[in-house]
């Protein structure tokens, strides 16, 4: 039984492979989407517990995808942590207004720190639910 189901929306294959490997090793179920449209589709069909969302994405960027998620009942409450590049403060700010939980700049954090962030959030939520 997996700890939780994550959706990783990231267009770079190298990073997808790295984060997927890390999360799988740590006992998570991981779904992957390589662009915003696929991300939106999987957010709806896979019903993940948490989405790790990049901002700069093909087809539909992270912010636009997030907005669409917030406009449909199935995904309106799905928690989102932003996994961004440096220099995207404006988009990050917009996402916070839409209710993003936190953001991490990919270059500044190690995969372990991403896992820690996810773990902390899930633990907090579990505590709230109990």
């Amino acid at each position: 039984m997996a700890k939780a189901k994550l959706l990783l929306v990231e267009d770079d294959v190298t990073l997808v492979k790295m984060y997927e490997r890390k999360f799988l090793a740590d006992g998570y179920d991981v779904a992957v989407a390589y662009d915003g449209l696929e991300g939106l589709e999987k957010a709806t069909s896979e019903k993940p517990d948490l989405i790790l969302l990049d901002i700069m994405l093909p087809k539909l960027d992270g912010l636009a995808m997030f907005k669409k998620m917030r406009s449909q009942p199935v995904t309106v409450n799905t928690p989102v942590i932003l996994l961004t590049n440096f220099g995207q403060e404006d988009a990050v700010f917009e996402c916070f207004k839409l209710g993003a939980i936190d953001y991490l700049v990919k270059a500044d954090v190690t995969p372990q720190q991403v896992v820690d962030k996810v773990e902390n959030f899930l633990a907090e939520r579990k505590a709230q639910q109990e």
Partner: protein
């Protein structure tokens, strides 16, 4: 011709050529010319009409009723004696005006009985007519007709040369107008062909004086010699090249120095030497006259003969007359050449400019378009001349709306006199295609500073914009394509170090940690480059908010304490529990970047001792000092310290890595937030970097 007639001819020709040589403008030419002939030939009245396009305009009337000068220009349709002469190019004589069908009735009413009208022709071009009248019936003899025709043709040459001179002088005044030169070279060649005119004058003179050869020598101000020039009459090119003399040498020298014509019935030794130097043989007699215009002597004109004693004293007089005619032509030609040269220089300059240049007069009529301008707009200069700037430079804004009248640069410049630069505008070419343009416009002023036109410099900046776009794309590539692999390397190395793949032996661990550091260097470099790009393109947005600088300093110190500890340095601040004491208006993220850069540098460049941060509030600002006990910076290095890519290189700092961008970025960020940064340092003792930030 008998003696008496000959004298009359010479006298009047001499008078006329003097008038022509001395006339400053055409107005001062007409009347004396008519008066001289009227007097010489015992006539009662005379008039000159010039041909201007399809109209004949009366220039002067001597001895005629006043109202004749007030009549309107006569068009070809109206006919009359004068138009008849223009068409046939032949003199017309009417002995009894009362019976004439074509002569104007006014003439007969004015009491005139006879008339002679001759065309003024030079170089096959008819410039107008001269008419003379007698109250009494007069039979004009063939000699009269010949004489008056000669006078008329002499007048024609004078008119043509004065016109071209006037044109030259006029345009000289308007030299500021770049187009003047352009126009000039076009119009002058249609008005006057110097070389051919000079050549025909020379031929005429040689024939009239029964000579065999003729040549003009001109004074050269550089070598102070007289050099013969083309066109010459019956001399070879080699002889022309070799015929030159000192300005006091031989008969030429005498004519030049004394300013009066000289006659040599037999060639003297000195003149003989000059001629033999040039390989001119068989000259037995020679006549030379100075070419004088106003008070200046330009050179000397010669006629040579193979017969001794060929020239008489009468010839000498006639020669004086004819040479003054030649002088006028030579002078105009001189000025023309000078202006032509300036024109060539200017047009070479204009065509070598890599930008479009267009000039217009105060009525916005185009007077010049350079070749790059032709390329950009797709029009040839000739197609644009005289057209309105508004029809050729069609401006639109970025929404493709035509610019309103008050925004058109030429309008603005002509009314204000102030230069204008336009960006983010579009111009369209001949095919109606719009392109982004950079446009600069400035006034053209005359010698008294009055605005007489405008000059527009323009460039198609499609390529520049493409390059800008590429630059932005490159930055984006740097973000994605460089940063992502670096992030990947960092992530995997960390996973290995974390033991995700099993235990790592100490030696491997050490090496991987080294790779992590190298990778971090790459990451820092990419970050710095990105920051530089963002600052230079103005893409960094500063969002100043009220914030506590003291609190931020404490946070950054905490963050960097590990680095300091690793080097055994003391890192501390003298802020204490300030609680809002150091409130500033700044962008917290950027101030953080500044602090990390400055404190990070202090740690990097200090081998032992401490790094200390102090805050100070004064003059409406908070000053933040980052002091260290490090290597210090020499005064010369301090000057260059904030330059892009500059790094202090000494034996001690050689092993310290960095991009040379940190302080440049720091300075820019501080300035963008309304502060300043400076450094004081003593080599071997340490440095103090201080930046300010405005308080709330």
């Amino acid at each position: 011709m008998d003696g008496q007639d000959n004298k009359v001819v010479l006298d009047s020709l001499y008078e006329i050529s003097k008038i022509a040589a001395e006339a400053h403008d055409l107005e001062s030419l007409w009347e004396p010319l008519i008066k001289t002939v009227v007097k010489a030939l015992a006539l009662d009245a005379g008039t000159i009409m010039t041909l201007e396009g399809d109209k004949m305009i009366r220039r002067t009337a001597v001895g005629m009723p006043e109202h004749m000068m007030k009549e309107l220009p006569i068009s070809a349709r109206e006919g009359g004696v004068s138009w008849g002469v223009v068409k046939t190019r032949q003199p017309t004589v009417i002995t009894d005006l009362k019976t004439s069908q074509i002569a104007s009735k006014i003439l007969a009413q004015g009491g005139f009985h006879s008339l002679i009208t001759v065309p003024m022709i030079t170089h096959d071009q008819i410039l107008g007519v001269i008419s003379f009248f007698n109250f009494k019936p007069r039979q004009f003899s063939q000699k009269d007709i010949d004489l008056i025709s000669t006078v008329a043709n002499q007048a024609a040459i004078a008119i043509a040369s004065i016109r071209s001179t006037e044109l030259l002088i006029d345009n000289r005044k308007k030299m500021a107008e770049l187009s003047a030169l352009n126009e000039l070279s076009r119009s002058i060649s249609t008005v006057f062909n110097f070389e051919e005119t000079l050549s025909s004058i020379l031929a005429l003179i040689v024939r009239m004086l029964r000579g065999d050869r003729g040549v003009i020598t001109l004074f050269n101000h550089q070598d102070k010699l007289l050099h013969s020039v083309k066109p010459a009459y019956k001399l070879t090119d080699e002889q022309i090249t070799d015929l030159r003399m000192r300005s006091d040498e031989g008969i030429t020298g005498q004519a030049f120095c004394k300013g009066v014509p000289q006659l040599e019935s037999e060639i003297d030794t000195e003149t003989g030497k000059v001629l033999s130097r040039a390989g001119i043989d068989g000259v037995k007699s020679l006549i030379a006259a100075p070419l004088k215009v106003k008070s200046q002597t330009l050179g000397v004109i010669h006629v040579m003969s193979k017969n001794p004693h060929n020239f008489t004293n009468d010839d000498l007089r006639l020669f004086a007359i004819l040479s003054s005619q030649a002088a006028v032509v030579v002078n105009s030609s001189y000025m023309y050449q000078e202006i032509e040269e300036e024109h060539k220089k200017d047009s070479a300059l204009l065509s070598s400019i890599g930008e479009g240049v267009l000039a217009c007069d105060q009525d916005q009529k185009i007077i010049l378009l350079n070749s790059e301008g032709e390329n950009i707009l797709g029009f040839l200069e000739e197609e644009t001349l005289g057209k309105s700037v508004k029809d050729m430079l069609k401006f639109t804004d970025k929404h493709e709306f035509p610019l309103s009248e008050d925004k058109l640069p030429v309008n603005k410049v002509l009314s204000s006199g102030q230069p204008e630069t336009l960006q983010e505008v579009y111009l369209s070419n001949r095919h109606g295609e719009n392109f982004p343009a950079w446009v600069s416009c400035a006034a053209i002023r005359d010698s008294v500073d009055k605005v007489i036109g405008a000059i527009v410099v323009f460039r198609n900046i499609s390529k520049d914009l493409e390059v800008e776009q590429m630059k932005r794309e490159l930055v984006s590539i740097a973000t994605h394509e460089l940063r992502t692999p670096i992030t990947g390397i960092k992530g995997y190395l960390d996973m290995i170090l974390q033991g995700d793949t099993g235990r790592v032996n100490p030696e491997t661990k050490e090496m991987i940690e080294e790779v992590v550091k190298i990778n971090q260097r790459l990451a820092d470099l990419v970050d710095d480059l990105l920051n530089v790009g963002r600052i230079e393109e103005g893409r960094i947005q500063i969002k100043p908010v009220p914030m506590d600088l003291g609190k931020l300093v404490s946070e950054v110190i905490k963050e960097l304490s590990i680095q300091a500890k690793d080097k055994g340095l003391e890192l501390k601040s003298e802020i204490g529990n300030s609680d809002d004491k150091y409130k500033v208006k700044a962008d917290p993220e950027r101030v953080r970047q500044v602090l990390i850069n400055l404190i990070g540098n202090a740690i990097k460049y200090t081998a032992a001792g401490k790094v200390e941060i102090a805050l100070e509030k004064k003059e409406g600002k908070v000053f933040c000092h980052v002091k260290d006990t490090g290597y210090g910076i020499s005064p010369e290095e301090q000057k260059k310290l904030f330059a892009k890519f500059y790094r202090v290189k000494t034996d001690k700092t050689r092993t310290i890595t960095g991009t040379g961008l940190g302080l440049w970025i720091t300075k820019k960020l501080v300035e963008m937030m309304g502060g300043e940064i400076r450094v004081s340092s003593v080599e071997g003792k340490g440095s103090d970097f201080c930046f300010s930030s405005p308080t709330v």
